[in-house]
């Protein structure tokens, strides 16, 4: 495990990128960041600017117009950056698949490192996703 990966996985700054979904996944993300789960124990903190981000938490359904913004925000993030698609919407389109305002899943626009299905996923599931992602980054099986 290199020094860079070690530092990155010990200090993850997450940026929340909400893509006009039903808003429930966004609320669960906020729940995960409350003192009850205390993610600062693992060095995970929420940041306001995408330039400071190491992890993009993408929620919701993106249509042809908002997908342009999604790509731009991804380009604006300082690399290396990892992306987690949170919720069934971001992973597959969920119940909006037949809807006029849905195009393709998030991973058709930007590379996604972890998928977290659920409608919405519980905070415990999100922490588990982060743990799995950290393990993947560190190269453990």
């Amino acid at each position: 495990m290199s020094f860079a990966v070690n530092m990155l996985t010990r200090s993850l700054n997450v940026f929340h990128l909400g893509g006009s979904a039903c808003n429930n996944c966004d609320i669960e993300i906020i729940d995960t960041l409350t003192p009850r789960y205390d993610l600062e124990r693992f060095g995970i903190t929420l940041v306001g600017s995408v330039r400071h981000a190491d992890v993009l938490l993408v929620t919701g359904v993106f249509n042809k117009k908002s997908a342009i913004r999604l790509k731009r925000v991804y380009q604006e993030a300082a690399k290396p950056v990892v992306v987690i698609a949170i919720g069934a919407c971001a992973c597959t389109g969920n119940m909006f698949q037949k809807s006029y305002n849905w195009d393709v899943p998030v991973d058709k626009y930007i590379p996604v490192d972890a998928y977290l299905p659920g409608c919405p996923p519980k905070p415990e599931a999100m922490i588990m996703a982060v743990v799995k992602l950290v393990k993947k980054l560190r190269g453990a099986k």
Binding site: F3, A4, M7, L8, R10, S11, P35, D38, E40, R41, G43, V47, G48, S49, R51, H52, D54, E76, A78, K79, P80
Partner: protein, 308 residues
């Protein structure tokens, strides 16, 4: 004194490296106490070190239209000034005979440079949110600087000296009523100088998404974070030196322990203020500093002249 020794002092102890390490440890104290106030466990001891080191391996984004040179060099000014201020204070503790008259004034100037570097960096980045943050930082600087200098004047009047060493040798300023008022004023100004809640309008994550720092990423952001940590170390040490005789290193272990406790106590006061106060709007903050705080500082100065 030869040049090599001098450079060693500036770069290692008690200059840059020492201040950086002590500042990161102080910022761990800050985060841990905050976590305990919120009934959390809090980050591990090395977390501030990880945070800064991680930023060193990230990419540096330079937005289009940015004044490149200023954007990249602004963080360095701030860091150098914070390290120099800490160096001057610690030299007054450690080698008392060699300080010069007027070092308090030099330290006062050096302590404003980190704020100026934030202003320069934010304007250089050409981002509207950063400009807003920078202009708020500037207003805040204008607001707190007057009462802060007035408060520092009180112990200077007590001892009739502008040499830090003489203040360390005299009776502590907080033994007199005017000193107590000035100390309270200085603590409030320190909170604003560190741009901590309730005076964190310049970076206001929720409305300005990081404010002055919004376009910064990678190593320059890391240097800014380090500078903030160094200021969190230097400012309380400066106030402890000015008002409470600082840390005495020549009288054995007990006074050293006492000095460190004074310093940690002041840090905890800062952290508790930051955790219990809501954010003030920038106009409220300016009114607060130019109104009641300046008035209190003036009262303290007049009382000090009268010998109270």
């Amino acid at each position: 004194m030869d040049l090599g020794y001098l450079i060693l002092q500036v770069l290692v102890f008690p200059g840059l490296l020492f201040t950086a390490v002590a500042g990161l440890i102080t910022s761990w104290v800050d985060r841990k106490v905050t976590a305990r106030v919120q009934m959390r466990v809090g980050p591990p001891f090395l977390q501030p070190f990880y945070d800064v080191l991680k930023l060193m391996i990230k990419e540096t984004c330079i937005p289009a239209g940015t004044a490149r040179g200023l954007f990249l060099s602004a963080p360095l000014f701030g860091m150098a000034a914070a390290a120099l201020a800490s160096l001057l204070i610690w030299r007054a503790f450690l080698v008392p005979g060699q300080t010069f008259s007027g070092d308090i004034i030099v330290i006062l100037y050096l302590l404003t440079i980190p704020a100026v570097s934030v202003i320069l960096g934010s304007f250089a980045s050409q981002n509207p949110l950063a400009s807003l943050g920078g202009s708020r930082e500037m207003k805040l600087l204008l607001a707190y600087e007057l009462p802060f200098v007035l408060a520092i004047l009180v112990p200077v009047i007590h001892t009739h000296s502008i040499r830090l060493f003489d203040l360390l040798a005299a009776a502590p300023a907080v033994y007199k009523p005017s000193g107590i008022i000035a100390f309270a004023v200085a603590i409030i100004c320190m909170q604003a100088k560190l741009t901590l809640v309730p005076f964190d309008a310049p970076e206001a994550e929720t409305e300005l998404t990081g404010g002055a720092y919004v376009e910064y990423s990678g190593p320059p952001l890391g240097v800014f974070k380090l500078t903030r940590a160094m200021m969190l170390f230097t400012m309380p040490i400066f106030l402890v030196a000015i008002f409470c005789n600082g840390i005495a290193f020549d009288k054995g272990a007990l006074p050293i322990l006492l000095g460190v406790l004074k310093y940690l106590g002041l840090v905890v006061v800062v952290v508790l203020i930051r955790n219990t106060a809501p954010r003030l709007r920038i106009d409220q903050a300016v009114k607060f500093f130019w109104g009641p705080v300046t008035l209190a500082a003036l009262v303290a100065v007049i009382a000090a002249f009268l010998g109270w």
